[in-house]
């Protein structure tokens, strides 16, 4: 179980191999990587700043991982989220779920992302030619997270 919030970039290959090395019960790893897109609607983004709530962010990420591990049989999980100033193409976030079987890995990684998107206290500020603007939360993210609510 790995949770990190950091300004520095991360290397997916390095993170993955430190997660799986020597753990030969892992049959599948599902990884998701979020990147800064160049366009926000019709505007070109020159940079993006990620603000967060130190302390609570880590707690929420750990809570999200715990929840995933309680729902699926997982060998390892990882969440790395960057903060600070990023440029188009930069990596923002990486989640990974390792399991004996691929179904669990896919489901859990998607759950991690859906919950992170609605629960982890990060806020994106986009810099465009027309100035800076805080990104609005999306209804589609709430819908995605609601899918996982227990009936």
């Amino acid at each position: 179980m790995v949770v990190r919030v950091q300004e520095e970039d991360f290397d997916i290959g390095t993170e993955l191999s430190s997660l799986t090395t020597g753990k030969h019960g892992i049959g599948g790893v599902c990884l998701f990587v979020g990147l800064v897109r160049e366009m926000a609607g019709d505007e070109t983004i020159s940079s993006m700043t990620l603000e967060h709530y130190p302390g609570m962010t880590e707690k929420e990420l750990i809570r999200i991982e715990d929840e995933a591990r309680s729902r699926w049989n997982l060998e390892e999980t990882l969440i790395i989220h960057r903060c600070g100033k990023l440029a188009p193409g930069d990596q923002i976030v990486m989640v990974a779920a390792c399991s004996a079987h691929r179904g669990n890995a896919f489901e859990a990684a998607r759950f991690l992302m859906d919950f992170l998107k609605t629960k982890a206290p990060f806020w994106k500020l986009e810099d465009t030619g027309k100035g800076s603007q805080w990104v609005d939360a999306r209804d589609s993210d709430d819908t995605a997270a609601a899918r996982w609510e227990k009936g």
Binding site: Y53, L116, W123
Partner: protein
Amino acid sequence: MKVLYFSWLREKVGTAEEDLSPPEDVGTAGQLIAWLRTRGDNYADALADMATVRIAVNQEYVQLDHPVKAGDEVALFPPVTGG
């Protein structure tokens, strides 16, 4: 009581963090927000629409009826947009 503001709530209020001593009749997060609104137009504007305000007490999400007391860390922020 420490009160934190993030994102555009921070910008509208004009501060990231302040130490406050609300009156004794402020016992819940909802009452704290109602009291904050009386402190100036910046607060009233930032906290006008509760649909866009999330509340955390001691770094956990809570609802308006959650108790707040001296020594708590209360954070007010818009819906999150990370990931």
